[in-house]
């Protein structure tokens, strides 16, 4: 195809510089993407319930059924133990589940192909996802803490160290699970099948990582399996944040092992970055 702007052997620089200068930047477009991502999530009732409301529903149901059981001589109730696990799970829901199910659907609908055909910088798409994940997580965290305090006598973190730990656990947890969500979004063959693959994975990790049961009571092979994945460590870290010091006796090592939690999460962040870079794709297999 020829146009008047073509030069012999024409290339991308055959362009008026005025146009070049005015392409909107990735940060401004990333912000615009966050708005679009949030609107699409909250207007899609299924996705909103699945991502935002599920951990709250689980917290209320499980907390009410088993909440009064006291765990050993510590005076800590199962409800309190469970609140910590559900807040850790909330990270997985808002980032990993949200992206690993949502992106295959976007790919099926042609949304990603449409975006690829525009001058949108690809970074803006990822910024939009990160912004959406972070804002939904903060909202969910606030609601889960409010439910925990109001219904299950959970106490908010009492020291600056614990608030600080909540911040870095959230940051590392969201980063790892967001990257894993981007990587895993290439696994399901179709958008429809995505939740059938993603949901069981999350459930297995939750059962083995000490979210629904006392981790200390699980068979040791199960503990060792869960220790390979980041949810176990996030859950343990959240117990440090939300349970009193005495609760450390409920841990396998009789300590919350916070340095080790940090180390494992940093290692997983690095690994998931590699996986996301290697696996994320814009189009379905066989489409270009």
């Amino acid at each position: 195809m020829r146009t008047p702007t073509q030069r012999p052997g024409g290339s991308a620089d055959a362009l008026p510089p005025a146009t070049a200068a005015r392409l909107p930047g990735p940060l401004a477009l990333g912000r615009s993407r966050v708005g679009v991502e949030l609107r699409q999530l909250f207007r899609d009732r299924e996705a909103a319930v699945f991502t935002l409301a599920l951990p709250m529903i689980l917290m209320i149901v499980f907390g009410s059924v088993f909440g009064d059981q006291e765990l050993g001589p510590t005076g800590i109730t199962f409800a309190q133990y469970f609140v910590a696990g559900m807040i850790a799970s909330g990270i997985v829901y808002t980032s990993f589940q949200n992206l690993a199910i949502g992106i295959p659907q976007e790919r099926d609908e042609g949304a990603l192909k449409r975006l690829e055909g525009t001058p949108m910088p690809k970074a803006a798409y990822f910024l939009g996802k990160v912004g959406q994940v972070c804002l939904v997580y903060v909202l969910q965290l606030a609601l889960l803490m409010a439910i925990g305090v109001a219904l299950f006598d959970v106490e908010l973190p009492s020291t600056a160290a614990k608030w600080g730990a909540l911040a870095w656990l959230s940051l590392l947890g969201l980063t790892t699970w967001t990257l894993l969500g981007l990587a895993f979004s290439s696994v399901p063959k179709s958008g429809k099948g995505a939740s059938a693959i993603v949901t069981p994975i999350i459930l297995v990790l939750q059962f083995t990582s000490g979210v629904f049961f006392l981790y200390n009571d699980l068979p040791s092979w199960m503990q060792q399996f869960a220790a390979l994945f980041p949810l176990k460590w996030l859950t343990q870290g959240m117990r440090y944040v939300f349970l009193p010091e005495e609760a450390a006796v409920l841990e396998v090592a009789a300590s919350f092992e916070m340095p080790r939690v940090a180390l494992v999460l940093v290692a997983w962040t690095a690994l998931s970055a590699v996986l996301a870079g290697a696996l994320f794709r814009w189009r379905r297999r066989g489409d270009g």
Partner: protein, 277 residues
């Protein structure tokens, strides 16, 4: 575009295809399913990489097209079902933000006839309205070149006419348009030139009235004589009609002169047996 080729395994989807489109033209690509229309278009759009050949779209190799190049083209894909939860206006406003010099959103809404649906969610639109939104998103960046891939598949005849009017308006504004379609009357109504692709090759590339020698080929003259229908195929229909007029001494009963339709020419081009390898 010169000697474009693309193979999937042993299937040569596009096999040595040449095509030149002049600025401001509307070119329609016709061809049976699997002929290589979409593969060709997607190579031009930068979605697929070619195996061989030379391609320039707006002076740029689409395999290396950057954001500046993307800002100058508009793409209307087949079968897109996204943006269901955003309103028409929100979608247009958002996509306008990707371009350096977008059209005002209200102007696009008017152009694609969705002003009344501006605040409706994407998923509530009818098929025709959705397609208009797709076109709106394709033109919001003021593209110099617009790709329309089977834009009216599944439309009722009225929606199709309205869509054609929209494309005419875009042509009048000077946009270059590359259209793929299954509908011959669509190509005839919109295109300055029609390319027929079959088995990955361009077998004809002519103005719709001249496709495959339609304007010079033989015509069929039909009339009634002695109560019997008669017909004759001739290269010189005027001479035949004059001879008949002389024979009948005036009006020739039931006289018609027909040239092959675009559809006749298209079917003849597509049905030609494969050349021996």
């Amino acid at each position: 575009m010169r000697g474009l080729a693309k193979a999937y395994g042993t299937l040569r989807a596009v096999d040595g295809l040449d095509l030149d489109v002049e600025p401001g033209q509307c070119v329609a690509l016709l061809g049976p399913n699997g002929a290589g229309k979409t593969t060709t278009t997607e190579i031009l759009e930068g979605y697929r990489h070619r195996d061989a050949g030379e391609v320039r779209v707006l002076g740029v190799d689409p395999a290396r097209g950057d954001r500046h190049w993307r800002a100058r083209i508009g793409i209307v894909l087949q079968q897109v079902g996204d943006l269901g939860e955003l309103t028409v206006r929100e979608s247009l406003r958002h996509f306008a933000g990707y371009y350096p010099d977008p059209r005002p959103v209200d102007e696009v809404l008017e152009q694609v006839g969705l002003a009344a649906k501006a605040d409706a969610r994407g998923r509530t639109l009818s098929g025709g309205q959705r397609r208009r939104l797709d076109v709106g998103l394709g033109i919001v960046g003021r593209p110099e070149l617009l790709f329309l891939d089977e834009p009216t598949t599944g439309f009722d005849p009225e929606a199709r006419r309205e869509f054609w009017t929209l494309v005419e308006t875009l042509k009048d504004e000077g946009a270059t348009i590359l259209l793929t379609t299954h509908y011959l009357e669509e190509a005839e109504a919109l295109a300055d030139r029609v390319g027929v692709i079959t088995r990955g090759r361009l077998v004809a590339f002519d103005p719709p009235g001249e496709l495959g020698g339609r304007h010079t080929g033989s015509a069929r003259v039909r009339w009634t004589e002695d109560g019997q229908p008669r017909s004759e195929e001739t290269e010189e229909p005027t001479a035949l009609v004059a001879a008949l007029a002389a024979r009948f001494g005036g009006e020739v009963p039931n006289l018609t002169v027909t040239r092959p339709t675009l559809e006749d020419m298209y079917l003849a081009l597509v049905d030609e047996p494969a050349e021996p390898a």
